[in-house]
Amino acid sequence: MSGYLVRRLIESALILLGITFVTFVLLYMVPADPARQIAGRSATAETVANIRDQLGLNDPLFVQYFRYLGNLLQGDMGRSYLQRAEVADLIAARLPASLLLMVSAIVTELILGLTIGVVAALRRNRPADHTLMIFSFVSISAPQFVIGILLLYVFSVQFGWLPIGGYGTFAHLILPSITLGFLGAGWYSRMMRSSMIDVLEQDFVRTARAKGLSRLHIITRHVMPNAILPVIAMIGIDIGLFMSGIVVVESVFGWPGIGQLAWQAIQRVDIPVIMGVTMVSATAIVLGNLIADLVAPLIDPRIKTK
């Protein structure tokens, strides 16, 4: 196990290194000059050249990259070109909000998705199943922007039950979590349904029934623990999906997370911030997958860590 862990950690570090390189090269190739953005439209050519020089943008790509990497390894993500603040501070100020939203969206999608999946599987091919599957289809296809605005309109404007966007209390968290978790709930319900159907047809379920165990006991103790395995593996991959969803959901609800920060940085070619947010998201995704892989054998001993 420890050998496996070390190997996976080294792999993860290499992946992250690769991501820094690819992102850096892509940003380098974008035909937009950050110095020009900073200098503004009244600047003379000399001013722009001077800014390029100060930021080291005239150096060759590899010099710039290794300088960035060297600083990064010392925990220095640089300063935002436009806000002039430390990138690490900007991200640190926003990361808790994004993590909170992410965790609460995972809880939401699991509760929604698993419940729907279980009910649909048990009512297979009956009207309840069809209705729930249509619902899951809609939740997978509907754009998050539309769902967010719709929920706001109904629950905040019409009923006045919840605040219209913002951050701070539990009430603020409800609609963004549902919006962000909605997509995953659709996937999970479909996955849970087919997984449940598979397990329900297994021999050990028939044996359990023959032993005279109650239906509830069979489902909660025998079927669900087996059916849930593929779903657990999904959560790790899900974090990647969340990272893209967060940009939209945070902007609809005014949620002060890193998605909002990333969006603005991209608009303004603020390279240090784009790099910083990319690194943080990539680390979250890599860690999520790593944890999912490490947890799987604990739940299902058949999966061996080699």
């Binding site: 974008v30 035909p31 937009a32 000059d33 020009r36 953005q37 900073i38 200098a39 503004g40 439209r41 009244s42 600047a43 003379t44 050519a45 000399e46 001013t47 722009v48 001077n50 800014i51 100060q54 300063r79 436009l82 806000q83 002039r84 603040a85 900007l90 100020a93 926003r94 909000a97 605005i149 706001l152 309109y153 905040s156 404007v157 006045g160 219209i164 966007g165 913002g166 951050y167 945070e250 902007s251 609809v252 609800f253 005014g254 949620w255 002060p256 997370g257 909002q260 920060l261 603005q264 991209i266 608009q267 303004r268 070619v269």
Partner: protein
């Protein structure tokens, strides 16, 4: 020396076009608060660095400079200066500070602060986007190149008096001194905060920063020691950050916000205007803005003036204005109507596809040609590009649309051989200060036709450049009318060369809650966008 002549000068010229003074209600009650919403987080509140339309007005409320504007107008007035004298040759400006004016940290403002602030903004290590505006101050070139030990043209005479010597007479200097970049900042606060001064601003404006939670909220509170008695009217202004404009509108309708800072979202515009109750709360005003198509004069076939003229006659501007729900007026020249120097009697090129086609044929393109139109990829700009594409197809010109992120369009425009045509929407010129020269240099003058410049037509007419320099040298306030006339003829002559197709001038529509009051001009203030935070008052304070 002429005594305190600023009002008769460039300002008087602005007054002619800007209309009378706003009816600022000096007796309006103080108290109450206002909530303004924004989608984007505030980038910085450092006056030397902030240069987007969101922080521009916020910085105006936190900081003051020597000069400012009468609320709701384009008329210059003394702000921290008690008096301002200009030498006969227009080269030396002497400012005397008001008595007892203070920074938010309680320290009195002295002349040394003026020198420090101007040197800071022009110091190359500050990397200020506004440094270039101060190019007329003597010693700018060496100091901004990183040589010498300060701006030699700025001299402290005594604690109250500062004398600024120019390297050339320049009629726009007083406007430049009213820009945010010329705000007075306390050295000790800047040095204590370093790069973080934009997060911990200390100025002498009507409001002080009370609270800033990144991505969520910025709160301003009244500065009790403000140098104008009875100002600001409100106790507190709260900026709620991170709200999509559609959500911001819901908040306003629900009574949770007073002004949507990003304006009325285009998709909801008609819905708001068709609702009598809401339409009542919308204030409409002009804007120092022109939306235009640049025709790259160095790329074939736009190097042919007749082709450019044909373009000018082929675009149906009325239809484009209609497409954006009438939120603009059609344009026929570079300057917007509310700018001094606008030629009222200039008729421009008529919309006449027949004549355009004939002119193209005459220019050697009887079958038209194929070209590219660059456009920023945010609504409504791609739709406007399609309308342009359709209009041009009528005269046989086949247009391929390149819809890109803003920074990519700007980068393409800054290269001589990249973008034959650019629709300026979303990046269009909004004047930094209300003076006709501000529409020339960077976007139509030879100085802007360089790699990385903003003259996307790559238009360079040396004769007009000389006339522009001559007009700006008319620093004597007595020549104000003559100067305005000189600029008017420059812009009319530019249209003879047709480097642009001027399309429209955007109008501003500010939606305000019932809780806010003040003269309409304060809600469409030409230098404060979206509103003039200092003079608006709350009806609940009465």
């Amino acid at each position: 020396m002429k005594r305190n002549t600023f009002l008769a000068g460039v300002a008087g010229l602005a007054l002619a076009a800007g209309g009378a003074f706003a009816q600022v209600n000096e007796d309006a009650p103080q108290g109450g608060e206002m909530v303004v919403t924004y989608q984007d987080d505030v980038a910085t509140l450092d006056p030397a660095i902030g240069y987007d339309w969101q922080n521009w007005s916020m910085i105006k409320s936190l900081f003051d400079g020597l000069m400012g504007y009468e609320p709701g107008t384009t008329t210059l007035r003394n702000e921290l200066a008690a008096s301002h004298e200009i030498s006969d040759d227009g080269m030396v400006h002497t400012f005397v500070l008001k008595d007892g004016i203070k920074f938010h940290n309680g320290r009195e403002i002295i002349a040394e602060d003026v020198k420090y602030s101007l040197e800071r903004v022009t110091d190359p290590t500050t990397r200020s986007p506004g440094a270039g505006f101060f190019g007329m101050i003597d010693g700018f070139d060496t100091w901004n190149a990183g040589e010498g030990d300060g701006l030699s043209g700025v001299e402290v005479i005594d604690d109250k008096t500062v004398q600024i010597t120019l390297s050339r007479p320049d009629a726009t200097f007083t406007h430049v001194m009213a820009l945010n970049f010329a705000s007075i900042v306390p050295r000790e606060a800047v040095e204590a905060s370093g790069e973080d001064f934009g997060r911990e601003p200390v100025g002498s404006g009507a409001f002080r920063l009370a609270e800033w939670t990144p991505g969520q909220q910025v709160v301003f509170e009244r500065f009790e020691d403000y140098h104008r008695a009875g100002v600001p009217k409100l106790d507190k202004v709260t900026f709620d950050i991170g709200l999509d404009p559609t959500v911001a509108l819901l908040r306003l309708q629900n009574g949770d916000a007073d002004v949507p800072g990003d304006g009325i979202p285009p998709a909801q515009f008609l819905q708001v205007m068709n609702n009598p109750e809401q339409a009542d709360n919308v204030v409409e005003g002009g804007q120092l803005h022109t939306g235009y198509i640049t025709l790259n004069t160095q790329m074939a076939p736009f190097d042919n003036v007749n082709v450019r003229k044909a373009m000018n006659m082929a675009i149906n501007k009325d239809r484009i204005v209609q497409m954006i729900n009438g939120r603009a007026v059609p344009a026929n020249q570079p300057l917007p109507p509310s700018m001094p120097g606008y030629a009222d009697d200039y008729e421009g090129y008529p919309f006449d596809p027949e004549a355009a086609r004939a002119m193209l044929a005459e220019a050697g393109f009887p079958d038209g040609f194929t070209t590219e139109l660059f456009v920023m990829n945010v609504d409504p700009n791609p739709r406007i590009a399609q309308a342009i594409q359709q209009d041009l197809s009528e005269i046989g010109v086949k247009v391929e649309i390149r819809s890109l992120a803003q920074s990519n369009v700007i980068a393409a425009g800054g290269e001589a051989d990249q973008a034959p045509m650019i629709w300026s929407g979303g990046m269009a010129w909004i004047a930094d200060f209300p003076d006709p020269s501000n529409f020339y240099g960077p976007i139509l003058g030879c100085a802007g036709a360089v790699s990385g410049g903003w003259n996307w037509s790559w238009y360079c007419n040396k004769e007009l450049d000389a006339r522009a320099a001559e007009a700006d040298a008319m620093a004597d306030p007595a020549l104000a009318d003559e100067r305005e006339e000189a600029w008017r003829s420059i812009y009319v002559d530019i249209m003879d060369d047709a480097p642009w197709v001027p399309v429209f001038n955007e109008q501003r529509f500010t939606l305000v809650s019932d809780r806010m009051a003040g003269d309409d001009s304060l809600f469409v203030d030409p230098v404060h966008i979206p509103v003039n935070y200092d003079y608006i008052y709350s009806v609940e304070a009465e």
